[in-house]
Symmetry: C2
Subunit: 233 residues, 2 copies
C-alpha cells in the first residue's frame, strides 16, 4: 500500500501532516473556535499564505481534524470491545461506552468538534461519514454477538416507519442486526452521547460528583434497555 513516492510528494505529505499535528495541538489547547491558521503557520516557521498550499481553507483543515477525531473515538471503542470478555454482552457494551467517555474527557475539544455544535456554515463532507460510524458499528457488533449467543432479549419498537429506517441502516452498514434492536440501539447511541456530552460540556457541574459510577450504571442500563442480557451464572 505504501507506494514509493518522489521526494517532493513525500515532503508534501510530511508537511501536511505536521500542519495537522500543530493544528491539533492548538485545538486541544484552545478549542476549534480559537484555532488560527496564522498561528499554526507561525508556530511552524512558515508564512500563513504558504499553508494554503496544503489546506485550501480553514474548513478543510478542520475536516482533516474531524476525520482523525472520529477515527480516534472509533478505534478506542473498537479496542475496548475487543479487550472485553466475550461472554457478557452487557460488560462488552459498557466497556465501549466507557471507552467513548474516557476519550471524550481526555480530548474535550476534539469531542466538541465532532459531537458538539457544528461549525457555522460547515457541512460535513462525505469523507467523514465513514469514520463517523465506527463507534456505532462497534456498538452494533456487540448487539449482534449477543443475539448470536441468545443474549439479546427481543425488545419491540412499535413503529413501522422507524423499523424501515432501521432496516435500511443495518443494510447500508453491511450488518445484520434485527431492525427492532437496531432502532433501540440508535436511540441508545444518541443517549450515550447525551451522557458523555453533558459531562464533557460541564452540564453536570454541581449536579453529579460521582461521575464514573453514575456513568457506569447509566451505560449498563442503556445496554439492558436495548435487550442485552448477561449470561446466567
Amino acid at each position: 500500500m505504501t507506494r514509493v513516492t518522489g521526494a517532493r510528494e513525500r515532503a508534501r505529505t510530511e508537511i501536511a501532516e505536521s500542519i495537522k499535528a500543530e493544528a491539533r495541538r492548538q485545538l486541544a489547547d484552545a478549542g476549534a473556535a480559537r484555532l488560527s491558521l496564522r498561528a499554526v503557520a507561525r508556530e511552524l516557521g512558515m508564512v500563513s499564505s504558504a499553508l494554503y498550499r496544503y489546506y485550501p481553507s480553514r474548513d478543510d483543515l478542520l475536516t482533516a481534524l474531524i476525520i482523525d477525531a472520529y477515527d480516534a473515538v472509533g478505534s478506542a471503542a473498537e479496542r475496548a470491545v475487543a479487550a472485553a470478555p466475550a461472554a457478557d454482552p452487557v460488560v462488552r457494551w459498557t466497556a465501549a461506552c466507557h471507552a467513548v467517555r474516557r476519550w471524550a474527557l481526555a480530548h474535550p475539544h476534539e469531542y466538541a468538534l465532532i459531537y458538539g455544535s457544528p461549525v457555522p456554515g460547515y457541512a460535513a463532507p462525505e469523507a467523514t461519514t465513514g469514520p463517523a460510524s465506527r463507534v456505532a458499528r462497534a456498538l452494533i457488533g456487540v448487539a449482534e454477538e449477543a443475539a448470536d449467543s441468545g443474549l439479546l432479549a427481543p425488545a419491540p419498537f412499535e413503529s413501522a416507519d422507524v423499523l424501515r429506517d432501521a432496516e435500511q441502516l443495518v443494510r447500508r452498514l453491511g450488518m445484520r442486526l434485527h431492525p427492532a434492536a437496531m432502532a433501540r440501539l440508535t436511540a441508545a447511541w444518541a443517549q450515550l452521547f447525551g451522557l458523555v456530552g453533558f459531562e464533557v460540556f460541564g452540564q453536570f457541574h454541581d449536579v453529579v460528583h460521582a461521575r464514573e459510577e453514575f456513568f457506569d450504571r447509566a451505560a449498563a442500563d442503556l445496554g439492558r434497555g436495548i435487550g442485552l442480557r448477561s449470561p446466567a451464572a
Copy 2:
C-alpha cells in the same frame, strides 16, 4: 416591581434590549460563531464602540442570549407539562420532551449556544444556573406528581455515592423526589438531550427519517425507564 425610572435609564434598557434582539436575530441566522458586535451595531445604526456601553464584551452579550435561551426552553417545557393531561405521568413526561425537541428544532443556533460545545474560554456565570435548571425542574415535577399518585415504580440505583449526589441535588433545588428516582432522572435528562442534540446537529442525517415517531418512542421509554407508569385504564 416596575419602578418609575428616569428617561435616561429607560432609554438605556430599551437600547440594551434592542441590541439583544438584533443579536438574537443574527444568532438565529448564522450561529454564535458568526455573531459580530460590529454587525449588530451597524444594523442598529450605531458605531461599534457605542455598543460597549451596554455590553462590556461579546461574551456578556452572549451571556444575555444564553439566559434568554435557557428561559425559553424552560418555559416551553413548563407550558407543555401544564397543558398535558394530569392523569398520565408518561404522557406528561413525553409532552415535556417533545416541547424541548420542538424548541430546539425551531431554534437550532440558540440550542447550540446552551447545549452545544461551550464557547471557548467562556465560563458560565452564576446568573445562568437558575434558568438552566428550568427544564430539569419541570421533569422532576412530573416525577414527583407521579410519585404522589403512586405511578412512580421504585427503580433502584445501586450506588451510595450517586444517591448522595442525588439527595443533595434534590435538596438544593427545593424539591422532594426520592434520591434513587432523582439519580435515574438525571441520567434520563442527559439522555434526552442526547436524542435532541443528535437530531439538531445533524447526526441523524441518513440514519433516522421518521424522526418525530422515533423520538416519541424513545422519550416514552426514557420516562418508563425512570419508573413512570401510566394509570391502569
